[in-house]
């Protein structure tokens, strides 16, 4: 099937998103918009200390306040839980995980850790009652610094006796000692340390939960602003001891997640447990400050990376040592995040089997970390792309030239990397060439010669970043090899209704991605109907009982492909019915444009609409064929999907103030065939802005006592539209050979590529002043300090 070349087809068109009118006019219903008569409101009292023994909790004054139904401490609810909060990714057999309950018992371990909660008849009454709960704390020393944590000078959790959660190694050598030998023999080598600062996901919609007991002691319905209704159902059932079939999870309109809603949270479990206990609906909506404190953070790594290269600059070995910041507890996939990057520290470059990766993850007294847009892969890409620039500087060649020398050659695809992973397709030189043309790379280099002269206060810099995104999570067997607690398949049902309207049931759980639009386009293309005749049902476990939800740029390359396969099954069945009606052999029928035709007899045809009605009436079906046109598929992808590309960023740095002005940003992304280029561009724009935000603006800052200094959006600097540059998107199209649509994911690519492109540009601008690195976020103060330090304290 051709997609991008077929101008008459639906696929490849820039259809406006059908989701947007409701979202943009405010008519979309988010969890906190749901009218729920009689609901009790939950409010959570959170620890003001990063680490403190909970000596006593006196709830009596709060319990007697107007409108208050009940007040609970962690100890009060200790027997409510069938098990602790879940972590689904025990990356090693000996991984340490402290017991974690929705409300802390005995000891609070980060500022924001739930200590007690209130149920009241209004959100206001619940909030007011929090102030009346009296907790006696015995503050304990907090551990904030990762290397300090590693030393076990202070052990946070007595029960596990160490702050180390696990060490996970990936050492790949042809012969033992090859990595060491490569470094000994290297013509050039670099050793760099990079800090991935903690980030706060800051989805536009805060988290919100509502648990509603159904009548007559029946099932429980849990509404949640979640990316993972299916996973949440399983985990909630296990944690609360509720039979899974008696729990329904619905994710109504969900306003962004970026991984932060890929989790099972204390408030979800509290709402269900307390709804069960009281028999009343219980609801909760997060405040922004709660979100900054008690929704997972992203990133949080110290990366030591070493590259060895031969005299031509070709990589001969890569060595990486990571320290991962888990935060106070392990959330759903916390420990797995560094592993998602572990395979990518050689980037898009040819490397012999000389790779030595090791990650040790530690607990700290800060908010738990977990998957955040890109999850492990932005960190890996940042390290290799920054280190490639360092290596280029060491050798004294242009960073783009160094990359070209190391690109995996296009002719090598599909390419089995030294890790054993097979990269399905790639054409890095083409993407880099296109990006270089779009930004006028040669012209910029020439301008730098005249502009970046001694004494110049406005210096021009250009940054390059090339990447592979290992996404489309994932082949279930590969996930098994990484000890992940679930598979990577996706389910789809395609159902042709009697009037030839089509229902698609998907296990993906969109929260801004535009699946309703995109999935309707896939079905329209396959079935020869208008996208308007296709309805996409999702995010309700009563409607879509099987699914693995939306994260890791998996929805199109797994869930979308599942839909295409289900369409094929429906067409196969319809073909049998049409053949029966047309008195032809099914093998002689062709299906296109929504019509079955007998090959060579154009007048013998039957539209799908007629077949659908025949299938419905079942008056005259082939012997043994079941009525109705419906097919279900569960698709387990054979490989990850491997989008790739090159981003380039042009900056001007004011050396007097340290201010960075992004003059131009070019993103060339290859995500294979594009279902809807408008949505692709949107994903790239959002991703680039989020990655640029890490480079320039965002950081979750803690003081030495573990107090979060960036608890509101006044301190945590999410850039606004006026703070980001126009983004020029370009695309090359290298269809994925591993799925019938030829598609790859694009949800995280922008975030993965952009952060190093921006920092590389800043360092490039300042290289003439002796600056070799700038810490993130590259705030004006930080850039100014880097210049001062490079100049020996003098400017």
């Amino acid at each position: 099937m051709t997609m991008t070349d077929d101008t008459t087809g639906v696929l490849g068109q820039r259809l406006l998103r059908r989701e947007d009118p409701a979202l943009l006019t405010g008519e979309a219903r988010y969890t906190s918009d749901l009218p729920i008569p009689g609901a009790l409101h939950l409010a959570v009292l959170r620890s003001p200390y990063a680490r403190a023994r909970i000596v006593s909790v006196d709830t009596s004054a709060a319990a007697s306040m107007p409108g208050v139904t009940a007040v609970f401490s962690g100890a009060d609810l200790a027997d409510t839980w069938a098990g602790p909060m879940p972590c689904a990714w025990p990356v090693t057999e000996d991984m340490k995980s402290p017991t974690h309950y929705p409300l802390a018992v005995g000891q609070a371990n980060y500022v924001g850790d739930g200590v007690a909660c209130v149920l009241a008849n209004s959100a206001t009454a619940a909030r007011d009652a929090l102030d009346a709960i009296e907790v006696e704390y015995e503050p304990l020393e907090a551990v904030i610094d990762l290397e300090d944590a590693l030393s076990d000078r202070v052990v946070i959790h007595d029960e596990i006796g160490t702050n180390r959660s696990y060490t996970w190694d990936l050492k790949i050598e042809e012969s033992e000692g090859q990595v060491d030998q490569a470094f000994a023999d290297a013509a050039y080598s670099v050793k760099e340390r990079y800090i991935q600062q903690r980030l706060i996901p800051a989805a536009m919609e805060p988290r919100a939960v509502a648990a509603i007991p159904q009548p007559f002691g029946g099932d429980m319905t849990l509404y949640s602003a979640t990316q993972v209704p299916h996973i949440l159902k399983v985990m909630t059932a296990l944690t609360l001891g509720i039979p899974e079939h008696q729990l329904r999870v619905v994710a109504p309109a969900v306003g962004g997640g970026f991984g932060s809603k890929l989790n099972v949270y204390a408030e979800e479990l509290l709402c269900v447990a307390l709804a069960k206990r009281t028999g009343s609906p219980v609801r909760w909506t997060e405040t922004r400050s709660e979100g900054n404190q008690a929704t997972i953070h992203g990133r949080g790594q110290i990366q030591d990376i070493e590259l060895a290269a031969d005299s031509d600059g070709r990589l001969t070995a890569v060595r990486v040592r990571l320290i991962g910041d888990m935060g106070a507890y392990l959330q759903l996939v916390t420990p797995g995040v560094p592993l998602l990057g572990a395979f990518l520290y050689a980037g898009v470059y040819e490397l012999p089997k000389a790779y030595d990766f090791s990650c040790t993850s530690v607990f700290t007294n800060m908010t738990p970390t977990d998957a955040y847009r890109g999850a492990g892969r932005p960190e890996a890409t940042y390290a290799i792309e920054r280190a490639m620039d360092a290596l280029a500087a060491e050798i004294g060649i242009d960073p783009l030239e160094l990359r070209r020398r190391n690109f995996i050659p296009t002719a090598s695809y599909p390419y089995e990397a030294m890790t054993g992973l097979v990269y399905d397709s790639g054409d890095h030189d083409r993407a880099a060439t296109l990006a270089a043309e779009m930004i006028d790379y040669a012209g910029v280099r020439a301008r730098q010669e005249t502009q970046n002269v001694p004494g110049a206060t406005k210096r021009l810099g250009i940054g390059v970043s090339t990447y592979f995104e290992m996404c489309g999570l994932a082949p279930s067997r590969v996930l098994a090899s990484l000890n992940y607690g679930a598979g990577g398949w996706e389910a789809a049902t395609v159902r042709v209704l009697p009037t030839n309207k089509i229902q698609v049931v998907t296990g993906t759980a969109p929260h801004g991605q535009g699946h309703e639009t995109a999935w309707s386009m896939i079905v329209a293309e396959k079935m020869g109907v208008s996208p308007d005749d296709v309805d996409v049902l999702h995010s309700d476990t009563a409607i879509a009982p099987l699914g693995l939800d939306t994260y890791g740029s998996r929805s199109l390359s797994v869930g979308g492909v599942a839909i295409a396969i289900a369409c094929d099954k429906v067409i196969d069945k319809a073909k049998q019915i049409a053949a029966h009606q047309l008195e032809a052999n099914p093998d002689d029928l062709e299906f296109s444009g929504g019509e079955f035709r007998v090959a060579g007899s154009p007048d013998r045809a039957m539209p799908l609409a007629a077949v659908a009605f025949e299938a419905f009436t079942a008056h005259n079906l082939p012997d043994g064929l079941e009525p109705n046109l419906e097919a279900h598929t569960t698709y387990d992808p054979p490989n990850f999907s491997w989008p790739f590309g090159t981003h380039m960023c042009l900056v001007e740095v004011d050396t007097e103030t340290g201010q960075v002005d992004v003059l131009k940003y070019v993103a060339v992304d290859d995500c294979g065939n594009q279902v809807n280029p408008l949505i692709v561009d949107g994903q790239v724009h959002g991703g680039v802005v989020q990655g640029l935000a890490q480079a320039l603006y965002e950081e979750a800052v803690y003081d030495a006592d573990g107090n979060l200094q960036t608890s509101t959006l006044a301190e945590y600097l999410v850039p606004a539209a006026s703070d980001v540059p126009a983004i020029d998107t370009g695309h090359t199209i290298t269809p994925s050979p591993t799925n019938q649509l030829g598609v790859k994911g694009i949800g995280e690519a922008g975030t993965i590529a952009s952060t190093p492109a921006v920092i590389n540009a800043i360092v490039d601008a300042l290289s003439g002043l002796g600056v070799r690195d700038v810490k993130m976020p590259a705030s004006p103060n930080t850039v100014w300090r880097a210049i001062n330090e490079a100049q020996g304290g003098q400017q």
């Binding site: 959100a123 206001t124 909030r127 007011d128 405040t287 922004r288 400050s289 007097e656 103030t657 201010q659 320039l696 603006y697 800052v701 200094q709 960036t710 509101t712 006044a714 301190e715 600097l717 850039p719 606004a720 006026s722 703070d723 705030s779 004006p780 103060n781 100014w784 300090r785």
Partner: protein, 274 residues
Amino acid sequence: MIPAAFDYVRAGSAAEAIQLIGQYGDEAKFLAGGHSLVPAMKLRLAQPTVLVDIGRVSDLSYIRDGGDHIAIGALTRHMDVEKSPVLAEHVPLLAHAAGHVGDPQVRHRGTIGGSLAHADPASDLPATTLALGATYVAEGPNGTREIAAADFYQGYFTSALAPDEMLTEIRVPKMGGAGWSFQKFNRRAQDWAIVGVAAWQRGSECGVGLVNMASTPVLASSVAAAIAGGASAAEAAEAAASEADPQADLNASVEYRVHLAKVLTRRALEAAGG
């Protein structure tokens, strides 16, 4: 983000507002545009028991030519200050600075009097009116009085207003064709300045106000003295932080703030005096 409980009363006139604030005492607060007070209340950093809403006191929203000065009603919205042709002609520095307050939503709700009375040293308009030598008019139970901007600011969020006084008018001298510049340095367009400089210059006479360089807005008198003594912009700017006492925060160290004040003052004077 639920504030603590409070009572709400609406004043129809300045006199009624003053009577109401007197009646409710120390725990009452005026509510004007609400863009400083309400966020603080939502975080429960401020918990007034009564809000006296003066937002409907329409006779305090005006911009009038007072001869040698322009008189601005305290409840004039930032957007009206920004777009005023009278101010564009006579006090362009203030109109321009008003266009840098917050974002368009803030500028449509927030008021000049609210901003000045809040006495946040990181706000743009206190330092700007200080540089311009403005006089504020306060009304209280015993009538009105004039307070020079230079005498108004006493510390973080602390002004010379008595609890039962209300800021009613801002009188800004006409600039008489002086050159001017407003240098606001921040990381996001909508944010408070990390450092800001409001400056005007006419020959050897100038006024320079600094944003976010102390617990109050700062009048950089040493800079003006240097300019009066014939110093160049670059030379005078070296004295920019002489009257300042900046604090460190997440965006800037003390050392960096001092450095920024000098750079921005130089740039402002170069633009204003050029």
